[in-house]
């Protein structure tokens, strides 16, 4: 495993809560603080790290309702609409995914979080109205229970 991978592995479970966290990480894998900082900046620039910060448990913050809204959008319009939907502040994720015909014709996915289902449904109406997409079939899949929520672990060596 090269040092980039070591670094990725060592920080995937959390940044140390000490004054010099990058020095603390470096110490564990034989890198200087400056080297760790340079490597992390590089991982961010190249997009390997897409976000660096805190990850919240939305349910504990009062966001009880989480809806996955899926649309069946013609292939030649999906990119434009995907970008449009992603601009709404309450849309937290927006992806295009493979369809599974005939069972599952949907190809555009949005995540919307809200304090309760009513609030989320209102937001969905707002999306449909403002993006003029009422003609496209959609479904709202609310989550009933969350069984497991953790960050993905990519290097099994650091698994429990």
């Amino acid at each position: 495993m090269d040092t980039d991978q070591l670094l990725i592995e060592i920080i995937q479970n959390g940044l140390p809560l000490v004054s010099h966290p990058y020095a603390a990480i470096g110490k564990q894998i034989g890198l200087t603080e400056t080297e760790v900082i340079a490597k992390l900046n590089n991982l961010i620039e190249t997009g390997v790290i897409k976000r660096f910060g805190i990850v919240v448990y939305h349910r504990k913050l009062g966001y009880q309702a989480n809806a996955m809204v899926v649309w069946n959008i013609p292939d030649n319009e999906v990119d434009i609409l995907g970008k449009k939907l992603g601009q709404f502040k309450f849309v937290t994720l927006c992806y295009r995914r493979s369809r599974h015909l005939p069972d599952w014709p949907y190809n555009l996915y949005c995540m919307i979080h809200g304090t309760d289902r009513e609030v989320v449904l209102q937001k969905i109406d707002e999306l449909i109205e403002q993006c003029y997409i009422s003609q496209f079939p959609h479904q709202v899949l609310f989550s009933k229970r969350c069984f497991k929520q953790r960050g993905a672990i990519y290097y099994s060596t650091s698994n429990d």
């Binding site: 390997v48 790290i49 995907g82 992603g86 937290t92 493979s98 899949l141 672990i153």
Partner: protein, 147 residues
């Protein structure tokens, strides 16, 4: 949770500084001391309000595999299948949803080719079909919640 905690949550869901004294830098912006910030993050993690603090990786650019999968699980078998699926270390999130496809989970693997192996194994163990819904385009991933 007070207004300072809320401020921390609203400001730290991305762009955590990469410098020698990152906590001191953020603390200054939030008008609190470095020590106070560290203690508060620690407490929020302990309370489970924060699930993690650190990097979120782009699986594919890291050389890994990532996908969303769904299953149609008979209600009567739901608990059993949930246990079977969650036993896989590659399963990162798992949600019950109100649809015919009632179980939705994320699979993350070290190598892309392992995704299909994991799916085949889940199908074998549960006897159910797994719909693989890989991402084709990512339009937005801001994922920022305001409290």
């Amino acid at each position: 949770m007070d207004s300072i905690d809320r401020n921390i949550i609203n400001n730290l869901q991305g762009n955590f500084p990469i410098c020698e004294h990152p906590y001191a830098k953020v603390a200054e912006q939030l008008n609190i001391t470095e020590k106070d910030l560290i203690q508060r993050i620690d407490k929020l993690l302990e309370q489970g309000i924060l699930s993690r603090f650190g990097p979120m990786y782009h699986a594919e650019r890291l050389g890994g595999g990532l996908t969303l999968a769904a299953m149609q699980v008979p209600e009567i078998d739901f608990e059993t299948v949930t246990k079977q699926v969650n036993t896989f270390p590659e399963v990162a999130h798992n949600y019950a949803r109100n649809h015919k496809l009632n179980m939705w989970f994320v699979i993350a693997t070290e190598k892309p080719e392992q995704i299909n192996i994991v799916i085949a194994e889940i199908e074998k163990q549960t006897g159910l079909h797994v719909y693989n819904m890989p991402k084709q385009t990512e339009y937005y991933l801001g994922f920022q919640l305001i409290v």
